[in-house]
Amino acid sequence: MPTKTISVRIDGELVAAHEGQTILEAARENGKQIPTLCYLKGLSTVGACRVCLVELSGTDRLLPACTTPIQEGMSIRTNSEKLTRYRKMAVELLLVERNHICSVCVSNSHCELQSLAQSLGITHVSYSYNNPRLPVDMTHPRFVLDHNRCILCTRCVRVCAELEGANVWEVASRGIYSRIVSDLREDWGHAKNCTGCGKCVQACPTGALAEKGYAVHEMVKQSDAVTRLASQRALGGNGAR
């Protein structure tokens, strides 16, 4: 592995990072907390949720930590008033876009969006709710897709394409009409490519994808199992070559 060590400053502290790492990876390795939603270790990065924004001295622009490669001599701030303001804004916009009603959600209290909102101190939203009328897909024998709780992080899209190789999920349409769709917008139960492996359900940060048979509060996701599988896959892949 090509691991040239470089030194960077994170929150004023001088730390060592490896070349090729992203800011997020380097920060997490050194015990710095940067919130994320669309990032899931083991999957490719898209930089869609904008909550991992960090400040880099020398530039006014905020950079997404999950997609920005770390470079020698970078000085990064992972926490500031400005960053909190922007992160709050990003999460509030996610909350107003769809009908996130925690009290009736299977993932209540096990939800990444909910816990992020709590840790950012979001008690109310400053924008008006969009209140879209969205369907719930119950056609799959084991799983449920509730568009109301989807934040379009595309973790399901990536886990299905990269780990399962089934390519069932994709984002269709654009703007506020964007939806997660399976195959040609078929009901999930009729999507021919779906193997029913459930990786998308475990990767989903909210209650949008859930297993049937769980009541409010009961659906605990195991996204670390996805990460574990990805790292095993990566090791196996290197060994074979």
């Binding site: 390519n167 994709e170 040609l184 490519n193």
Partner: protein
């Protein structure tokens, strides 16, 4: 959308799709070219669910990816289009010169329900087709002809400084010309 999915692809259409795929073979980003060729070869200028499914199986691209591309670009239609396409500009300049009223009047004249319009609201994309498939009404964000506002495009010809009467005359001419 249900009826489109139930349609079975005929041999002629399948040949057209095969040709389109062959033309774009082994080129990166071939999907867009294929979709465009298939749509323009279609009599009603749209991509049926069956043709999308056929494209996905023949090219080996995941159906979800094909559907995603077809819905992302406003260029692609998933519903049959009318013989005449009337495109009303909803850009800022045209809006201030009354393009919203033009659009509403046009819908009224063609018997497209108000509800159809209000449901899509001020969406950046409206596409409504009359039941007899003679007219399709679309909107566009800007034609870049703001000095001529309000602008309406009728079958790829730009009409400038349109008012309700000129638009009505144009629609009437098209309706009679077809008979």
């Amino acid at each position: 959308m249900q009826s489109a999915a139930a349609e079975v692809l005929d041999a002629h259409e399948r040949v057209l799709i095969d040709q389109a795929i062959a033309r774009h073979e082994s080129r990166p980003g071939a999907l867009l070219g294929i979709l465009e060729a298939v749509q323009s070869a279609n009599a009603h200028k749209f991509l049926s669910m069956e043709s999308l499914r056929y494209i996905a199986t023949e090219t080996g691209i995941a159906p979800a990816r094909v559907y995603s591309a077809a819905t992302f670009f406003a260029l692609f239609n998933l519903l049959p289009q009318g013989d005449n396409v009337i495109c009303v500009c909803r850009g800022t300049a045209c809006h201030t010169r009354g393009s919203r009223d033009l659009l509403a009047k046009l819908c009224l004249d063609l018997g497209l329900r108000d509800r159809d319009l209000s449901e899509t609201g001020d969406a950046d994309q409206v596409s409504l087709t009359t039941a007899d498939r003679k007219f399709t009404i679309r909107t566009v964000a800007c034609f870049g002809q703001c000095a001529l506002a309000p602008v309406v495009e009728v079958n790829h010809h730009i009409l400038s400084h349109v008012n309700e009467r000129t638009l009505q005359r144009e629609v009437k001419a098209l309706a009679h010309g077809r008979k």
